[in-house]
Subunit: 790 residues, 2 copies
C-alpha cells in the first residue's frame, strides 16, 4: 500500500511534495531517519530576539516542535521583561502590555471569527435560496428576508409576490410539469456552478482549504508544523469556498470548517504580537482558544466550544488557556449575535425550546437511538475511510474536479424531488427538532386536531394526519440518501464538515422513531407500558426531542465526542432536564461505536494521512520496554555520537553529511558512552558555517569543544571551536528497562521530540516521537510505515 | 514562627501528632529527611492481588503517592484481566463488569451525594426556622411548609395561624417589647445550642470534619495520603454538624463542606470495588468526580461542578474522568431534584430568571463591582489568614469551643435586629437576586407604583418608596457585619464554607449599587449617559442582576475561580446574555485580587497548614538549576547509595537504620556511581525481614544482589539474597544542568515522588517533591520549613 504523505486533497501540490519527496527519498535510500527528517534548508521564519545566530531555535516545515524548549524560551522571555520592568516606566508599560496582549489577541480572534461566521451564514443562506429563485425587491435578499415585509400572517411566510421561482421569472408562472422541470434544471445548474467554482478555487489557490480541517488542526496543536495550513490564503479561500460548497446543496456542513477558519484567524492575528509570533508553543495556546471560538459560533455554544477544544482538538491546554478560550468563545458568540444572521437573535438555525418533561420509560427508545447512532458512526467511518483510501491509491484521486461535479450532480438530482432534501440541511434539522405548535403549518405538524381536548398552550398527543404520513415516507427516503451520499462527500476537494450531515441522519431517524412512539402511545394508551403516564388527552411524547437525541447519538458515533457533545446540545435546548436523554444516547452510541472500531472519524483520517499524532486519550497497554523501541536495534551499527572535546570540524561535518538524524548525543568519550548533552543537527550546521565564515582560525582540523574548559592543545594546532552554547545540557533520559507505557506518557505529557536511553549510566540509544508512533502502530497491527513525518 | 503541621482544628489530636512528632523529631535530630519521612511501621492497608509480600507497594499515612507506579500497577491489572478474559466466559464477564464498575461507582456516588445534599437542605431549613418559632400542625414542618396549606394569597405567605413564634407560644401573643426580647433571647439560645453541639461533635468524634475541606481535598487529590480524612466518621459527623452550623446562623455556607461530604461518599464507595480500593491513583479519579458532584448539588450546576473540579481541585484529570464526573454530577443533581428540598423543583434557593437585557454602559458599574470583589477578596484572605495564624500560634487555639460560642453569640446578637441578617444567608441571597415583580411584597420591592405606565408584564423603572430606603440602610449594616464576622468564622472548629458568605457580601454590595443606579436613571434620565437607552417609563436597570454580578465578583476575589465561577452563575440564571457582565466582573475581580496577593483562599490555607501541594497553575519562574536543589548539597556528606552486588544484609540494615530516607539509589559500584535503579526503604525492610524469617541461609553476612545474574561466591559463604524484584529499574533522572522550571514541570505532570540527578552519566544526588516545594517556598521568600510532609 502506498500512503500519500498529506491529505489526498493536497497531494498534487508541487511545492509541498518537493519537501516531502526529500523526506521520502531519504528514507528509501537506506538511511535510517530515526532522529527525524532533519533537512538542510534555510528557515523562512524570523529570527529570535537576542539569539546570536539567525535560524538557531526555529523549525523546518513538516517537523515536530520541542514543547519543553519552546516553553523554556517563553519563560526566559517573560523573566527578562519582568526584570526589565523594574528599570523604567517604559519597560513597566511594556511588561503590562505584554501581559494583556493575550487578552487583546483573544478579543480580536473572537471578533474576527464571529464576523466571518456571520458573513458565511448570511451568504450561504442567500445562495442556497438562489438555487430556487430570486427576489425582485432586490436580488441580494434571501427568500425569508424578501417576504418579511409583505406578509403579516405566519402561515404564508414563504409565499409573497416579490419572491419569484426561476420558472415564474422565466415562464411567468410556476405551475405545471414544464415549470417543475425548469426549476429542477436551474437547481442542478446552480449547484454544479457553485461546486465547480469551489473546487477550482481550492485547487488553484489554497489546496489546504479542503476538508473539515479538524484532523490537521489536531495534528498541528500536538506540535507539528504545516506551513500555510493556517495562512491568510487558506482563510480567504476557505471562507469563500465554504459558502459555495454549502450553497451547492452537497451533504456537508459548515461547522467543522468554521473551526479551521477560526484557527486561521488566530494564527494570522498571532503575527501582531511578538510573544505569539515567535513561539510555537504560545501560538498553539491561541489556536486552542480559536478552535473554541469556532465551535462557539458554529453551534452558538460558548461553553460547549471550550469543552470541544479541551476534549477533542487540544493537546496542551493549561488552565490559563481555558479561561482565555472561554473569553474568545464568548466574544465570538456575541459578535455573531449582534450580526444576527438568522433574524431571530439566536446563534443557530436549530435552537429549540421544549416544554414537556420526558418519562423514564422513554429512555428505551433513546437508548435505541444511541445504538443506531453508534452503528451508523462505525459504518460511516469504515466506509468513508475505505473510500478515501481508494481515492488515494487509484486513479480516482487524479480527477478531483470531476469527482466533485459528479457527486454534486447526483446529490442535486436526488435532492430536488424530496422537499426535505431540497431545503438546506440546517433548515431540515431545525424543522425536525421543532416541537409542533398549534399554528405550525408544516407537513410534519399535520395532525388531526381535536380542539375540545386542548388545554391552554399544551397540545395533547393527536392522531397523525395524511401530511405526517407523507412526511414520514419522504424522511425515510431522505435518510437513505443522506446516509450514502455523505460517505462519498466527506473528503472531497471542497471544504466539508460532517457535524451537520451526521446530525441530519440522526435527527431524521429520531423524528421517525418519535412519531412512531407518539402514534403508538396515542392509539394504545391502554398498554401497560403507557399506562400511568400517558393517558388520553395528555401530551406525553415530543417527537422533536427524539430528533435531537438521535442527532446527538449520530454525531457521537461519528466523532466520539462526549462531554462537549452533550454540552453543545444542552446549550441548544437550554433545559437541564433534557441532558439525561442526550447523555444516555451519547453514552450508548460511544460504547456501541467503540466496540466496533476504536477510532473516531478525525483520528481515522489522521492515521489515513499518516500524520505524526500521539493520541492522548488512548492508554498504551502493551508490555514492551524502551529497549525494544530504541534505535539502534541490536543488529544495527552503534549509535552515532559526537564526543565532547576530541572531534574536529571535519569529523563532525562528515557525521552530519553521512546521516540524516536531526540531532546527535554528545558523550564524554566513545569508550565510556557517558552522556553530556544533545545537539541539534540544524544548530550544528548553522554554527559551524557561521564560525567558518566569521571566526578566525577555524579550519577543518579545528577541534570542536562542548565542555566549559577546553583541554589545552599544542600551540601549533588551530584554534578551538567552542559550541557549548548550542548544546542542550538537559536531554531527557530513560533507562532501557523503562516500560513503554511510561515512555509514551512522558512523550505525551512533556511534549518531547526525542529521549535518550541509558543502561547503568551508559548511553545506549535514542527514541524519537516517530519511533514511539511507529511502535504504537506496530502494536496495533498497523503498517508502521504509514507514519511519515516526525 | 511555629507552624503546626495540620489545620488548627486538628492539631490537638493526639493520634496524629504522634506520627507528626516523629517527623519533626527526625528533622530536628539532625537527620536530613530529604528522601521523605519514611518511617518504620506496619501498614494498615490491605495487600495487593498477587503481590508476593504484603505491604510492598503501599503507603504510610502522611506520605505522597507515586503516580507513575500507581498508574503502572493499574495498567498491569487491566492487562491481566483483558488477557484472562479470552480464557473463559466467567473471566469475560469479570472483564466486562470491571470495565463498567467505574460507571456504577459514579452512579452510586451521585445518588448518595444528591440524597445527602437533600437531607442537609431540608434539615437546615427546618432548624433555621426553629430559631424563630415552631409549627403547631407538626413540629417537623418548617415555616414555609407549615403555612402552605392555610394560605391562598402570595402576599401573606409567611403568616398563618399554625406557625407560632416563641413569644406567641409562650406568652400567647407576639406584640410588644417583651415579646420581642423573648424572641431575641430564644433566637440566641437556639443558635448557641446548635453551635455548641456542632463543635462538641467535631471535637469528640471527627476532628477532620471542620472547615470547608477543600484545601485538604486539593492536597489529597495531588497525591497526599491523610487517612480518615474521607472516612465514614468524618462523613457522618460532617453531615450532622454542617446542618447544625448552618442553622446556628453563623456566617458560613454549606457549599464548600458539601464537596467534602461528596468526596467522603466517593472514598467510602470505592471500598466496594477492588479496582478502586487498591489503587490510590484510580481512587483519586473517583474523588475528582465526587467533587464535581458536590458542587453540582451545592449550586444546582452540573457543568459548573465539573469545571470546578477541573479548574480548582483536581490534579490528575484525564478526559475519561471528565466524562464520568459529568455523569456523577448529573446523577447527583437529578437525585437532589427528585427530593425537591425547596418545593419549587429547583436545585438551589437562589435560582433566578431575568427578563430585561443589559446595556453596554452598565459594564461600568459591573466593573466597579469587580474591583470591589477583588479588594474584598484580597482583604478577606489577608485578615483571615492572619487570624488563623494567630489562632495557631497563641493560646486562642486552645479554646475552640469557647471561640465558637463567642462568635455565635456575637453573630446572633447582631443578626436578630436586622431582618436581612436574621434570615438564612441563602434566603438573603435569593431575595437580593430577585427581580421585583408587580406582586412582590418584600421591602426591597416597595417602589412607588404608577400603574398608568405599566405595559404588560414589564415593570418600568420606578421611584423607590420608603421601604426600599429602609432596606438600603439595613443592607448596608448587614454588609458591614458580614464582612467582619466572616473573617473570624472561617477556620473555626465547625464545618464552614465561604461560598455563601462571599456571595452574600457581593450580592448586598451589588444590590445597593443596582438600586442607586436605578434611581439615578429614574431621576436623571436626561443625563447624557442615560439618554438613548433609558427613557422614562422604560425598565432599564435590573438591581437583581447587579446583586448577582456582585456575588460573582466577591466569590471570584476570594477563590480566584474563573471559568467554573462564570459557568456556575450562568447555570443559576440560564441566560447566555448575562454571561458577559459576570465575566467582566469575574475578570476584574481576579486581576485586582491577584495584584494584591497571588493566592486564593484555598491555596493560602494549604500554605498556612504546610501541606505538600505542588501548585499546577503557577509557573515556576526562577532561573535555578537542578544542582541548586538536589541533596546532598556541596558541604553535606555524599549521597547514601546501595551497591548492586557487594553489600551484605548487615550493611544494608545499617544504612536503613542510620538514615530516614524513604528510598535509596542502587549503583554499580561506589567508585563509578553509575545508576542501576532505586529501591524504597519500606520495600527493603519488608523484604529483608521476610527473607530472614522464611528463606533458608539468609544471615547478616549474606550478600544482597540486585542484578539479574549474581556473581559466583566462594562455596563457604552464605546464600545470596536476590532482591531484583523490588528494584525500580526505571527511576527518573535529570542532569544537574536541567533548569528547575523543567524539573518542576516534570514533577507536576508525571506526579513524581523523587527524581535522581546525574552529571555526565554519574549519579550526583536526588530531588524529592519536598525539596521542590521547599525550593519554591524559598524562591517566594517564604519559610521553607513550613512544608512539613512529603
Amino acid at each position: 500500500l502506498l500512503f500519500f504523505p498529506l491529505n489526498d486533497c493536497k497531494h498534487s501540490l508541487s511545492s509541498r511534495t518537493r519537501i516531502l519527496g526529500m523526506s521520502t527519498q531519504a528514507r528509501q535510500s537506506g538511511f535510517s531517519s530515526y532522529n527525524g527528517g532533519g533537512m538542510n534548508g534555510t528557515s523562512t521564519m524570523m529570527d529570535f530576539l537576542e539569539e546570536p545566530l539567525p535560524g538557531v531555535g526555529t523549525y523546518e516545515d513538516f517537523n515536530t516542535i520541542d514543547w519543553v524548549r519552546e516553553k523554556s524560551r517563553d519563560r526566559d522571555r517573560h523573566r527578562e521583561i519582568t526584570n526589565r520592568s523594574k528599570e523604567s516606566t517604559w519597560a513597566l508599560l511594556h511588561s503590562v502590555s505584554d501581559a494583556f496582549s493575550g487578552w487583546l489577541l483573544m478579543l480580536l480572534v473572537g471578533l474576527l471569527a464571529g464576523s466571518l461566521a456571520g458573513l458565511i451564514d448570511i451568504s450561504a443562506h442567500w445562495m442556497t435560496d438562489l438555487k430556487e429563485g430570486v427576489c425582485l425587491a432586490g436580488f441580494w435578499f434571501n427568500h425569508e428576508h424578501c417576504c418579511w415585509k409583505s406578509n403579516t400572517t405566519f402561515t404564508d411566510r414563504d409565499k409573497c409576490p416579490e419572491w419569484k421561482s426561476w420558472s415564474q421569472l422565466i415562464l411567468g408562472h410556476g405551475e405545471g410539469a414544464f415549470a417543475y422541470i425548469l426549476n429542477y434544471f436551474m437547481y442542478v445548474i446552480w449547484a454544479l456552478m457553485f461546486s465547480l467554482l469551489a473546487v477550482l478555487l481550492v485547487k488553484g489557490f489554497a489546496p489546504y482549504a479542503c476538508g473539515s480541517g479538524i484532523p490537521e488542526i489536531k495534528t498541528i496543536l500536538s506540535g507539528f508544523i504545516i506551513r500555510g495550513y493556517l495562512g491568510k490564503w487558506t482563510l480567504v479561500i476557505k471562507t469563500i469556498t465554504l459558502v459555495l460548497a454549502v450553497s451547492s446543496g452537497l451533504s456537508l456542513g459548515k461547522e467543522g470548517p468554521l473551526v479551521h477558519v477560526a484557527c486561521c484567524c488566530g494564527n494570522i492575528l498571532c503575527h501582531l504580537f511578538t510573544k505569539y509570533r515567535k513561539n510555537e508553543a504560545k501560538r498553539r495556546e491561541v489556536l486552542s482558544a480559536a478552535a473554541a471560538a469556532g465551535v462557539s459560533v458554529a453551534f452558538g455554544a460558548p461553553i460547549g466550544g471550550v469543552l470541544f477544544s479541551l476534549e477533542e482538538v487540544s493537546y496542551y491546554f493549561p488552565l490559563k488557556t481555558l479561561w482565555r478560550s472561554f473569553f474568545a468563545a464568548l466574544v465570538a458568540a456575541f459578535t455573531l449575535r449582534s450580526i444576527n444572521p438568522f433574524g431571530n437573535s439566536r446563534l443557530v438555525l436549530f435552537y429549540v425550546e421544549f416544554h414537556m418533561p420526558w418519562h423514564l420509560l422513554e429512555l428505551v427508545p433513546f437508548i435505541l437511538l444511541g445504538i443506531f447512532g453508534g452503528l451508523w458512526g462505525a459504518f460511516f467511518i469504515r466506509s468513508n475511510i475505505a473510500w478515501c483510501r481508494r481515492r488515494k491509491t487509484t486513479r480516482l484521486g487524479k480527477y478531483p474536479v470531476l469527482e466533485v461535479l459528479v457527486v454534486t450532480a447526483i446529490t442535486a438530482i436526488l435532492a430536488f424531488p424530496n422537499e426535505y432534501t431540497r431545503m438546506s440541511t440546517s433548515e431540515l434539522i431545525s424543522e425536525l427538532f421543532n416541537d409542533c405548535g398549534i399554528l405550525d403549518s408544516s407537513k410534519l405538524c399535520e395532525y388531526v386536531n381535536d380542539f375540545n381536548s386542548t388545554k391552554g398552550d399544551d397540545l395533547p398527543d393527536r392522531a397523525a394526519g395524511p401530511g405526517v404520513y407523507t412526511a414520514m415516507w419522504q424522511l425515510a427516503l431522505a435518510l437513505i440518501m443522506k446516509v450514502f451520499i455523505t460517505i462519498f462527500t466527506f473528503g472531497m476537494k471542497v471544504p466539508s464538515g460532517l457535524f451537520i450531515p451526521s446530525m441530519a441522519v440522526g435527527a431524521i431517524a429520531g423524528r421517525l422513531l418519535g412519531v412512531a412512539v407518539e402514534q403508538l402511545a396515542f392509539y394504545h394508551h391502554d398498554w401497560a407500558i403507557f399506562s400511568g403516564w400517558c393517558s388520553p388527552g395528555a401530551d406525553c411524547i415530543t417527537p422533536g426531542l427524539y430528533a435531537m437525541v438521535g442527532a446527538a447519538a449520530c454525531l457521537g458515533g461519528v466523532t466520539r465526542m462526549t462531554v462537549s457533545l452533550v454540552v453543545i446540545m444542552f446549550e441548544l435546548t437550554g433545559g437541564l432536564e433534557y441532558i439525561v436523554p442526550l447523555m444516555a444516547a451519547a453514552m450508548t452510541s460511544k460504547w456501541v461505536a467503540d466496540a466496533i472500531g476504536r477510532e473516531g472519524i478525525y483520528d481515522a483520517h489522521i492515521r489515513l494521512n499518516g500524520y505524526p499524532f500521539l493520541e492522548a486519550k488512548e492508554e498504551f497497554s502493551h508490555k514492551t520496554r524502551a529497549m525494544d523501541v530504541m534505535r539502534p536495534r541490536k543488529s544495527d551499527p552503534a549509535l552515532t555520537v559526537i564526543t565532547q572535546d576530541t572531534m574536529t570540524v571535519e569529523d563532525v561535518e562528515a557525521i552530519v553529511s553521512s546521516t540524516t538524524y536531526s540531532g546527535y548525543p554528545v558523550v564524554v568519550s566513545r569508550a565510556s558512552q557517558r552522556l553530556v548533552g544533545f545537539v541539534l543537527r540544524r544548530d550544528l550546521i548553522i554554527s559551524i558555517e557561521n564560525a567558518r565564515k566569521k571566526q578566525d582560525g577555524i579550519v577543518s582540523t579545528s577541534v570542536i569543544c562542548f565542555t566549559d574548559y577546553c583541554p589545552p592543545l599544542p600551540p601549533s594546532s588551530p584554534s578551538v571551536l567552542k559550541l557549548r552554547s548550542i548544546l542542550d545540557l538537559s536531554p531527557f533520559t530513560v533507562t532501557d528497562e523503562t516500560p513503554m507505557e511510561i515512555v509514551v506518557d512522558i512523550f505525551r505529557k512533556l511534549g518531547l521530540r526525542q529521549c535518550l536511553v541509558t543502561h547503568n549510566g551508559k548511553l545506549l540509544g535514542i527514541i524519537t516521537k516517530k519511533d514511539v508512533l511507529k511502535h504504537i502502530a506496530q502494536m496495533a497491527n498497523q503498517d508502521p510505515e504509514s507514519i511519515l513525518f516526525n
